[in-house]
Protein backbone atom coordinates (compact mmCIF):
# COMPACT_ATOMS: atom_id res chain seq x y z
CA UNK A 1 0.00 0.00 0.00
CA UNK A 2 2.79 2.37 0.97
CA UNK A 3 4.46 1.52 -2.31
CA UNK A 4 1.61 2.99 -4.33
CA UNK A 5 1.53 6.07 -2.10
CA UNK A 6 5.24 6.78 -2.50
CA UNK A 7 5.17 5.79 -6.16
CA UNK A 8 2.31 8.15 -6.92
CA UNK A 9 4.08 10.92 -5.02
CA UNK A 10 7.30 10.32 -6.95
CA UNK A 11 5.54 10.36 -10.33
CA UNK A 12 3.46 13.43 -9.47
CA UNK A 13 6.48 15.34 -8.17
CA UNK A 14 8.55 14.38 -11.23
CA UNK A 15 5.77 15.54 -13.54
CA UNK A 16 5.70 18.83 -11.67
CA UNK A 17 9.47 19.15 -12.14
CA UNK A 18 9.15 19.20 -15.90
CA UNK A 19 5.83 21.07 -15.83
CA UNK A 20 7.23 24.18 -14.18
CA UNK A 21 8.44 27.32 -15.91
CA UNK A 22 10.26 28.50 -12.80
CA UNK A 23 13.46 26.49 -12.21
CA UNK A 24 13.24 27.22 -8.47
CA UNK A 25 10.02 25.24 -8.19
CA UNK A 26 11.44 22.50 -10.42
CA UNK A 27 14.30 21.97 -8.00
CA UNK A 28 11.95 21.87 -5.02
CA UNK A 29 9.64 19.34 -6.65
CA UNK A 30 12.65 17.20 -7.51
CA UNK A 31 13.58 17.19 -3.82
CA UNK A 32 10.05 16.01 -3.01
CA UNK A 33 10.46 13.28 -5.61
CA UNK A 34 13.75 12.21 -4.00
CA UNK A 35 12.07 12.03 -0.61
CA UNK A 36 9.40 9.72 -2.05
CA UNK A 37 12.09 7.54 -3.61
CA UNK A 38 13.89 7.39 -0.25
CA UNK A 39 10.66 6.04 1.20
CA UNK A 40 10.60 3.36 -1.52
CA UNK A 41 14.17 2.38 -0.66
CA UNK A 42 13.17 1.90 2.98
CA UNK A 43 10.37 -0.40 1.77
CA UNK A 44 12.97 -2.34 -0.21
CA UNK A 45 15.03 -2.98 2.95
CA UNK A 46 17.75 -0.55 1.88
CA UNK A 47 17.74 2.05 4.68
CA UNK A 48 21.32 3.09 4.03
CA UNK A 49 20.60 3.94 0.39
CA UNK A 50 17.54 5.86 1.55
CA UNK A 51 19.58 7.96 3.96
CA UNK A 52 22.36 8.46 1.40
CA UNK A 53 19.73 9.57 -1.09
CA UNK A 54 18.61 12.30 1.30
CA UNK A 55 22.09 13.33 2.45
CA UNK A 56 23.83 13.44 -0.91
CA UNK A 57 21.07 13.99 -3.45
CA UNK A 58 18.68 16.20 -1.54
CA UNK A 59 21.21 17.67 0.86
CA UNK A 60 24.17 18.40 -1.39
CA UNK A 61 23.51 18.09 -5.12
CA UNK A 62 20.18 19.89 -5.00
CA UNK A 63 21.62 22.68 -2.86
CA UNK A 64 24.16 23.13 -5.64
CA UNK A 65 21.31 23.46 -8.15
CA UNK A 66 19.47 25.93 -5.93
CA UNK A 67 22.69 27.85 -5.53
CA UNK A 68 23.10 28.21 -9.29
CA UNK A 69 19.44 29.10 -9.80
CA UNK A 70 19.74 31.84 -7.18
CA UNK A 71 23.11 33.02 -8.44
CA UNK A 72 22.02 33.40 -12.05
CA UNK A 73 18.63 34.68 -10.93
CA UNK A 74 17.41 33.25 -14.22
CA UNK A 75 13.71 33.98 -14.25
CA UNK A 76 11.07 32.33 -16.38
CA UNK A 77 11.92 30.18 -19.31
CA UNK A 78 11.41 31.98 -22.60
CA UNK A 79 9.51 29.91 -25.10
CA UNK A 80 9.23 32.10 -28.15
CA UNK A 81 12.83 33.17 -28.75
CA UNK A 82 13.92 30.28 -30.94
CA UNK A 83 11.43 28.13 -32.81
CA UNK A 84 12.32 24.52 -33.22
CA UNK A 85 10.92 22.93 -36.32
CA UNK A 86 9.95 19.29 -36.07
CA UNK A 87 9.44 17.40 -39.29
CA UNK A 88 6.07 15.56 -39.59
CA UNK A 89 7.83 12.23 -40.17
CA UNK A 90 9.69 12.66 -36.88
CA UNK A 91 6.38 13.24 -35.12
CA UNK A 92 4.89 10.10 -36.65
CA UNK A 93 7.81 7.97 -35.50
CA UNK A 94 7.59 9.49 -32.05
CA UNK A 95 3.86 8.78 -31.79
CA UNK A 96 4.47 5.19 -32.88
CA UNK A 97 7.14 4.76 -30.20
CA UNK A 98 4.78 6.12 -27.56
CA UNK A 99 2.12 3.59 -28.53
CA UNK A 100 4.63 0.72 -28.51
CA UNK A 101 6.02 1.69 -25.10
CA UNK A 102 2.57 2.12 -23.58
CA UNK A 103 1.49 -1.27 -24.92
CA UNK A 104 4.61 -2.86 -23.47
CA UNK A 105 4.02 -1.24 -20.09
CA UNK A 106 0.38 -2.38 -20.07
CA UNK A 107 1.40 -5.91 -21.02
CA UNK A 108 4.04 -6.03 -18.31
CA UNK A 109 1.61 -4.81 -15.67
CA UNK A 110 -1.10 -7.21 -16.85
CA UNK A 111 1.16 -10.24 -16.52
CA UNK A 112 2.77 -9.06 -13.29
CA UNK A 113 2.94 -11.27 -10.23
CA UNK A 114 2.68 -14.58 -12.04
CA UNK A 115 6.17 -15.89 -11.50
CA UNK A 116 7.60 -13.37 -9.11
CA UNK A 117 8.78 -14.50 -5.71
CA UNK A 118 10.80 -12.11 -3.61
CA UNK A 119 13.66 -13.56 -1.61
CA UNK A 120 12.33 -13.63 1.94
CA UNK A 121 13.61 -10.87 4.19
CA UNK A 122 14.81 -13.27 6.88
CA UNK A 123 18.17 -14.18 5.41
CA UNK A 124 18.96 -10.61 4.43
CA UNK A 125 21.07 -8.36 6.62
CA UNK A 126 18.90 -5.60 8.00
CA UNK A 127 19.43 -2.21 9.57
CA UNK A 128 22.92 -1.68 10.82
CA UNK A 129 24.29 -5.05 9.67
CA UNK A 130 23.13 -4.19 6.15
CA UNK A 131 25.39 -1.15 6.33
CA UNK A 132 28.21 -3.45 7.42
CA UNK A 133 27.52 -5.86 4.56
CA UNK A 134 27.43 -2.95 2.13
CA UNK A 135 30.80 -1.70 3.33
CA UNK A 136 32.39 -5.14 3.09
CA UNK A 137 31.13 -5.70 -0.45
CA UNK A 138 32.07 -2.20 -1.54
CA UNK A 139 35.65 -2.38 -0.29
CA UNK A 140 36.31 -6.02 -1.23
CA UNK A 141 34.51 -6.90 -4.46
CA UNK A 142 34.21 -3.37 -5.83
CA UNK A 143 37.47 -1.91 -4.53
CA UNK A 144 38.80 -1.11 -8.00
CA UNK A 145 35.60 0.61 -9.12
CA UNK A 146 35.62 2.55 -5.87
CA UNK A 147 39.16 3.82 -6.50
CA UNK A 148 38.31 4.76 -10.08
CA UNK A 149 35.36 6.74 -8.75
CA UNK A 150 37.71 8.92 -6.76
CA UNK A 151 39.59 9.76 -9.96
CA UNK A 152 36.26 10.61 -11.60
CA UNK A 153 35.41 13.00 -8.78
CA UNK A 154 38.83 14.62 -8.99
CA UNK A 155 38.42 15.18 -12.72
CA UNK A 156 34.91 16.55 -12.23
CA UNK A 157 36.16 18.92 -9.56
CA UNK A 158 38.95 20.22 -11.80
CA UNK A 159 36.55 20.54 -14.71
CA UNK A 160 34.02 22.48 -12.65
CA UNK A 161 36.67 24.89 -11.39
CA UNK A 162 38.16 25.46 -14.84
CA UNK A 163 34.75 26.01 -16.44
CA UNK A 164 33.20 28.24 -13.85
CA UNK A 165 36.11 30.40 -12.82
CA UNK A 166 36.33 33.68 -14.67
CA UNK A 167 40.10 33.84 -14.80
CA UNK A 168 42.48 31.24 -13.46
Amino acid sequence: MLFYLFGAAAVAASLMVIGQRNPMYSVLFLIASFAALAGLYVLLDAPFVAVIQIIIYAGAIMVLFLFVVMLLNAPQEDISRVRVMVAPSTRRIGALLVVVLLAELAWALATAGEREVWVSAEGLPEGESSVRALGLTLFRDYAFAFEVTSVLILVAMLGAVVLAKREL
Partner: protein, 341 residues
Protein backbone atom coordinates in the same frame (compact mmCIF):
# COMPACT_ATOMS: atom_id res chain seq x y z
CA UNK B 1 -0.14 0.36 34.45
CA UNK B 2 0.01 2.37 31.26
CA UNK B 3 0.28 0.62 27.89
CA UNK B 4 3.45 1.30 25.94
CA UNK B 5 1.93 3.04 22.95
CA UNK B 6 0.21 5.64 25.14
CA UNK B 7 3.51 6.17 26.91
CA UNK B 8 5.15 6.68 23.53
CA UNK B 9 2.63 9.37 22.58
CA UNK B 10 3.06 11.08 25.94
CA UNK B 11 6.83 10.96 25.46
CA UNK B 12 6.45 12.49 22.00
CA UNK B 13 4.40 15.41 23.34
CA UNK B 14 6.77 15.75 26.29
CA UNK B 15 9.84 16.01 24.04
CA UNK B 16 8.06 18.52 21.80
CA UNK B 17 7.23 20.79 24.70
CA UNK B 18 10.59 20.34 26.35
CA UNK B 19 12.21 21.56 23.14
CA UNK B 20 9.95 24.63 23.17
CA UNK B 21 10.83 25.29 26.79
CA UNK B 22 14.51 24.70 26.07
CA UNK B 23 14.35 27.30 23.31
CA UNK B 24 12.66 29.78 25.68
CA UNK B 25 15.25 29.06 28.36
CA UNK B 26 18.01 29.57 25.80
CA UNK B 27 16.62 32.98 24.85
CA UNK B 28 16.66 34.01 28.49
CA UNK B 29 20.07 32.47 29.14
CA UNK B 30 21.56 34.12 26.10
CA UNK B 31 20.44 37.56 27.20
CA UNK B 32 21.50 37.04 30.80
CA UNK B 33 24.91 35.59 29.93
CA UNK B 34 25.50 38.31 27.36
CA UNK B 35 24.64 40.88 30.01
CA UNK B 36 27.01 39.27 32.49
CA UNK B 37 29.83 39.21 29.97
CA UNK B 38 29.24 42.86 29.12
CA UNK B 39 28.70 43.92 32.76
CA UNK B 40 25.08 44.82 32.29
CA UNK B 41 21.98 43.65 34.13
CA UNK B 42 20.09 42.05 31.28
CA UNK B 43 16.31 41.52 31.42
CA UNK B 44 15.03 42.02 34.97
CA UNK B 45 11.61 43.65 34.74
CA UNK B 46 9.28 40.88 33.55
CA UNK B 47 8.77 38.35 36.34
CA UNK B 48 11.30 37.55 39.04
CA UNK B 49 14.82 38.26 37.71
CA UNK B 50 13.31 38.74 34.27
CA UNK B 51 12.44 35.05 33.99
CA UNK B 52 9.23 35.71 32.09
CA UNK B 53 11.04 37.72 29.40
CA UNK B 54 10.92 35.00 26.69
CA UNK B 55 7.17 34.60 27.16
CA UNK B 56 6.70 38.34 26.90
CA UNK B 57 8.74 38.22 23.69
CA UNK B 58 6.57 35.46 22.25
CA UNK B 59 3.35 37.30 23.10
CA UNK B 60 4.73 40.47 21.54
CA UNK B 61 5.67 38.58 18.36
CA UNK B 62 2.25 36.97 18.15
CA UNK B 63 0.49 40.33 18.01
CA UNK B 64 2.78 41.79 15.37
CA UNK B 65 1.51 42.19 11.85
CA UNK B 66 2.53 39.55 9.35
CA UNK B 67 4.28 41.38 6.51
CA UNK B 68 5.02 40.12 3.05
CA UNK B 69 7.24 42.15 0.73
CA UNK B 70 5.98 43.13 -2.71
CA UNK B 71 7.13 40.66 -5.33
CA UNK B 72 7.85 37.94 -2.81
CA UNK B 73 6.95 34.41 -3.79
CA UNK B 74 3.85 33.92 -1.62
CA UNK B 75 3.96 30.13 -1.22
CA UNK B 76 7.68 29.73 -0.63
CA UNK B 77 7.75 32.76 1.64
CA UNK B 78 5.25 31.02 3.93
CA UNK B 79 6.83 27.58 3.53
CA UNK B 80 10.38 28.52 4.47
CA UNK B 81 9.95 29.19 8.22
CA UNK B 82 7.76 26.11 8.60
CA UNK B 83 10.41 23.99 6.89
CA UNK B 84 13.09 25.38 9.21
CA UNK B 85 11.08 24.63 12.34
CA UNK B 86 9.96 21.17 11.19
CA UNK B 87 13.47 19.96 10.37
CA UNK B 88 14.73 21.32 13.69
CA UNK B 89 12.10 19.38 15.63
CA UNK B 90 12.39 16.23 13.50
CA UNK B 91 16.13 15.90 14.02
CA UNK B 92 15.68 15.59 17.76
CA UNK B 93 13.29 12.64 17.37
CA UNK B 94 16.08 10.06 17.15
CA UNK B 95 18.16 11.49 19.99
CA UNK B 96 18.02 9.32 23.13
CA UNK B 97 18.26 11.20 26.42
CA UNK B 98 18.03 8.55 29.10
CA UNK B 99 18.38 4.86 29.88
CA UNK B 100 15.53 2.38 29.55
CA UNK B 101 13.07 3.01 32.32
CA UNK B 102 9.72 1.81 33.60
CA UNK B 103 9.10 5.14 35.37
CA UNK B 104 9.16 3.38 38.77
CA UNK B 105 6.87 0.57 37.74
CA UNK B 106 4.34 2.85 36.09
CA UNK B 107 4.80 1.21 32.67
CA UNK B 108 4.17 -2.38 31.66
CA UNK B 109 7.52 -2.82 29.97
CA UNK B 110 10.68 -0.70 30.02
CA UNK B 111 10.77 2.07 27.45
CA UNK B 112 13.65 3.99 25.95
CA UNK B 113 13.66 7.71 26.53
CA UNK B 114 13.79 8.37 22.81
CA UNK B 115 10.98 9.22 20.43
CA UNK B 116 12.07 6.92 17.59
CA UNK B 117 14.63 4.17 18.02
CA UNK B 118 16.20 3.85 14.57
CA UNK B 119 19.27 1.69 14.20
CA UNK B 120 20.89 4.06 11.71
CA UNK B 121 20.08 7.00 13.98
CA UNK B 122 23.25 9.00 13.44
CA UNK B 123 22.74 9.00 9.70
CA UNK B 124 19.12 10.06 10.06
CA UNK B 125 20.14 13.04 12.18
CA UNK B 126 22.72 13.96 9.56
CA UNK B 127 20.14 13.62 6.78
CA UNK B 128 17.55 15.77 8.53
CA UNK B 129 20.16 18.36 9.47
CA UNK B 130 21.20 18.58 5.83
CA UNK B 131 17.59 19.41 4.92
CA UNK B 132 17.63 22.36 7.32
CA UNK B 133 19.50 24.52 4.81
CA UNK B 134 16.44 24.66 2.56
CA UNK B 135 14.46 26.72 5.04
CA UNK B 136 17.15 29.40 5.00
CA UNK B 137 17.77 29.25 1.26
CA UNK B 138 14.08 29.47 0.39
CA UNK B 139 13.53 32.29 2.87
CA UNK B 140 16.36 34.24 1.29
CA UNK B 141 15.26 33.65 -2.27
CA UNK B 142 11.53 34.15 -1.84
CA UNK B 143 11.86 37.42 0.08
CA UNK B 144 12.79 39.28 -3.11
CA UNK B 145 15.34 41.33 -1.21
CA UNK B 146 19.05 41.60 -1.89
CA UNK B 147 20.02 41.23 1.76
CA UNK B 148 18.01 38.07 2.12
CA UNK B 149 19.39 36.64 -1.11
CA UNK B 150 22.98 37.34 -0.06
CA UNK B 151 22.32 35.75 3.32
CA UNK B 152 20.86 32.66 1.65
CA UNK B 153 23.77 32.36 -0.80
CA UNK B 154 26.26 32.61 2.05
CA UNK B 155 24.31 30.16 4.11
CA UNK B 156 24.13 27.49 1.42
CA UNK B 157 27.84 27.61 0.60
CA UNK B 158 28.78 27.75 4.27
CA UNK B 159 26.61 24.79 5.21
CA UNK B 160 27.80 22.64 2.29
CA UNK B 161 31.41 23.42 3.18
CA UNK B 162 31.12 22.62 6.86
CA UNK B 163 28.86 19.62 6.38
CA UNK B 164 31.89 17.73 5.05
CA UNK B 165 33.94 18.24 8.20
CA UNK B 166 30.83 17.58 10.31
CA UNK B 167 30.23 14.28 8.53
CA UNK B 168 33.87 13.19 8.73
CA UNK B 169 33.99 13.98 12.46
CA UNK B 170 30.85 11.87 12.91
CA UNK B 171 32.42 9.09 10.81
CA UNK B 172 35.52 8.91 12.97
CA UNK B 173 33.56 8.72 16.21
CA UNK B 174 31.34 6.05 14.63
CA UNK B 175 34.47 4.06 13.80
CA UNK B 176 35.49 4.09 17.46
CA UNK B 177 31.95 3.41 18.62
CA UNK B 178 31.53 0.65 16.05
CA UNK B 179 27.82 1.31 15.66
CA UNK B 180 25.36 3.60 13.93
CA UNK B 181 22.87 3.56 16.78
CA UNK B 182 23.15 6.39 19.27
CA UNK B 183 21.88 4.21 22.11
CA UNK B 184 24.56 1.58 21.56
CA UNK B 185 27.31 4.17 21.39
CA UNK B 186 26.13 5.74 24.63
CA UNK B 187 25.99 2.36 26.37
CA UNK B 188 29.61 1.71 25.44
CA UNK B 189 30.62 4.82 27.33
CA UNK B 190 29.43 3.61 30.74
CA UNK B 191 32.04 3.08 33.44
CA UNK B 192 35.59 4.33 33.74
CA UNK B 193 39.15 3.59 32.67
CA UNK B 194 41.50 2.88 35.59
CA UNK B 195 38.80 3.87 38.01
CA UNK B 196 38.81 7.62 37.47
CA UNK B 197 38.78 8.50 33.77
CA UNK B 198 35.26 8.19 32.36
CA UNK B 199 35.05 6.02 29.23
CA UNK B 200 33.84 8.90 27.16
CA UNK B 201 34.73 8.88 23.50
CA UNK B 202 35.99 12.45 23.75
CA UNK B 203 39.08 10.95 25.41
CA UNK B 204 39.76 8.88 22.29
CA UNK B 205 38.54 11.56 19.89
CA UNK B 206 39.58 14.98 21.24
CA UNK B 207 40.22 16.34 17.76
CA UNK B 208 36.99 14.82 16.46
CA UNK B 209 35.05 16.54 19.25
CA UNK B 210 36.65 19.88 18.48
CA UNK B 211 35.92 19.55 14.75
CA UNK B 212 32.37 18.45 15.48
CA UNK B 213 31.70 21.45 17.71
CA UNK B 214 33.25 23.97 15.30
CA UNK B 215 31.38 22.53 12.34
CA UNK B 216 28.24 22.37 14.48
CA UNK B 217 28.50 26.08 15.26
CA UNK B 218 28.88 26.78 11.54
CA UNK B 219 25.93 24.51 10.70
CA UNK B 220 23.67 26.29 13.17
CA UNK B 221 24.81 29.70 11.87
CA UNK B 222 25.96 30.94 15.25
CA UNK B 223 28.63 33.55 15.92
CA UNK B 224 31.50 33.65 15.02
CA UNK B 225 30.10 32.01 11.86
CA UNK B 226 26.73 33.82 11.68
CA UNK B 227 27.18 35.10 8.14
CA UNK B 228 23.68 34.30 6.89
CA UNK B 229 22.41 37.02 9.24
CA UNK B 230 25.47 39.21 9.75
CA UNK B 231 23.64 42.28 11.00
CA UNK B 232 26.40 44.80 10.27
CA UNK B 233 26.51 43.82 6.60
CA UNK B 234 23.15 42.27 5.70
CA UNK B 235 20.62 43.94 8.07
CA UNK B 236 19.38 40.55 9.28
CA UNK B 237 20.33 38.26 6.42
CA UNK B 238 17.88 35.63 5.32
CA UNK B 239 15.10 36.70 7.72
CA UNK B 240 15.29 40.42 7.01
CA UNK B 241 11.78 40.49 5.57
CA UNK B 242 10.14 38.26 8.15
CA UNK B 243 8.00 39.42 10.99
CA UNK B 244 5.60 38.09 13.58
CA UNK B 245 5.31 34.32 14.03
CA UNK B 246 7.22 33.38 10.89
CA UNK B 247 10.20 35.23 12.33
CA UNK B 248 9.60 33.44 15.62
CA UNK B 249 9.80 30.10 13.81
CA UNK B 250 13.27 30.90 12.44
CA UNK B 251 14.31 31.97 15.91
CA UNK B 252 12.92 28.78 17.39
CA UNK B 253 14.61 26.63 14.75
CA UNK B 254 17.99 28.22 15.45
CA UNK B 255 17.81 27.48 19.16
CA UNK B 256 16.44 23.97 18.73
CA UNK B 257 19.20 23.19 16.25
CA UNK B 258 21.70 24.25 18.88
CA UNK B 259 20.05 21.95 21.41
CA UNK B 260 20.14 19.07 18.93
CA UNK B 261 23.79 19.57 18.02
CA UNK B 262 24.69 19.72 21.72
CA UNK B 263 22.58 16.66 22.56
CA UNK B 264 24.19 14.62 19.77
CA UNK B 265 27.63 15.78 20.93
CA UNK B 266 26.79 14.68 24.48
CA UNK B 267 25.61 11.28 23.24
CA UNK B 268 28.54 10.64 20.94
CA UNK B 269 31.45 12.18 22.83
CA UNK B 270 30.49 12.91 26.42
CA UNK B 271 28.94 9.68 27.59
CA UNK B 272 25.26 10.60 27.22
CA UNK B 273 23.32 9.96 30.39
CA UNK B 274 26.14 8.07 32.13
CA UNK B 275 27.79 9.72 35.08
CA UNK B 276 28.80 9.11 38.67
CA UNK B 277 26.68 9.55 41.85
CA UNK B 278 23.28 9.15 40.21
CA UNK B 279 21.40 5.86 39.70
CA UNK B 280 20.61 4.83 36.14
CA UNK B 281 17.00 5.97 36.40
CA UNK B 282 18.11 9.55 36.96
CA UNK B 283 20.64 9.51 34.13
CA UNK B 284 18.66 12.17 32.29
CA UNK B 285 19.82 14.67 34.92
CA UNK B 286 23.42 14.09 33.81
CA UNK B 287 22.25 14.46 30.23
CA UNK B 288 20.60 17.79 31.02
CA UNK B 289 23.69 19.06 32.84
CA UNK B 290 26.03 18.12 29.98
CA UNK B 291 23.77 19.66 27.34
CA UNK B 292 23.46 22.83 29.40
CA UNK B 293 27.23 23.11 29.67
CA UNK B 294 27.64 22.80 25.90
CA UNK B 295 24.88 25.34 25.30
CA UNK B 296 26.60 27.72 27.70
CA UNK B 297 29.80 27.30 25.68
CA UNK B 298 27.78 28.23 22.58
CA UNK B 299 26.62 31.48 24.18
CA UNK B 300 30.03 32.16 25.66
CA UNK B 301 31.68 31.86 22.24
CA UNK B 302 29.09 34.11 20.65
CA UNK B 303 29.66 36.98 23.05
CA UNK B 304 33.45 36.59 23.16
CA UNK B 305 34.61 36.12 19.57
CA UNK B 306 34.03 38.63 16.78
CA UNK B 307 32.70 37.48 13.43
CA UNK B 308 35.12 36.13 10.83
CA UNK B 309 35.44 37.63 7.40
CA UNK B 310 33.59 35.56 4.82
CA UNK B 311 36.65 34.53 2.82
CA UNK B 312 38.37 33.59 6.08
CA UNK B 313 35.43 31.37 6.91
CA UNK B 314 35.62 29.48 3.61
CA UNK B 315 39.42 29.25 3.76
CA UNK B 316 39.23 27.93 7.32
CA UNK B 317 36.59 25.36 6.40
CA UNK B 318 38.32 24.00 3.33
CA UNK B 319 42.00 24.47 4.12
CA UNK B 320 42.14 23.79 7.84
CA UNK B 321 39.07 21.98 9.11
CA UNK B 322 38.60 19.55 6.22
CA UNK B 323 42.24 18.33 6.05
CA UNK B 324 42.25 18.02 9.84
CA UNK B 325 39.11 15.92 9.85
CA UNK B 326 40.40 13.68 7.04
CA UNK B 327 43.63 13.22 9.01
CA UNK B 328 41.63 12.46 12.13
CA UNK B 329 39.58 9.88 10.22
CA UNK B 330 42.69 8.14 8.86
CA UNK B 331 44.44 8.07 12.23
CA UNK B 332 41.27 6.80 13.88
CA UNK B 333 40.82 4.06 11.30
CA UNK B 334 44.45 2.97 11.74
CA UNK B 335 44.02 3.01 15.52
CA UNK B 336 40.84 0.96 15.37
CA UNK B 337 42.55 -1.67 13.23
CA UNK B 338 45.73 -1.66 15.36
CA UNK B 339 44.05 -1.99 18.73
CA UNK B 340 41.09 -3.94 17.33
CA UNK B 341 38.76 -2.01 19.60
Amino acid sequence: MIPTFIAQIVLLLFVFHMLLIAAAAMVYAERKVAAMIQQRLGPYLVGPRGLMQPFADVIKLMFKEQLRPLGADRFLFMLAPVLSAVTAFAAFAVVPFGAETTLFGLLEEPMRLQVADINVGVLVIFAIASMGVYGIVLAGWSSNSKYSLLGALRSSSQMISYELSYGLALASVLLVGGSLSLTEIVDQQAGTWWGFLPRWLVVLQPLGFLIYMIAGIAETNRAPFDFPEAEQELVAGYHTEYSSMSFAMFFLAEYINMVTVSAVAVNLFLGGWHGPFLPEAFGWIWFLIKVSVLLFVYIWIRWTLPRYRYDQLMAFGWKVLLPLSVLNLIVTAAGVIYFAV
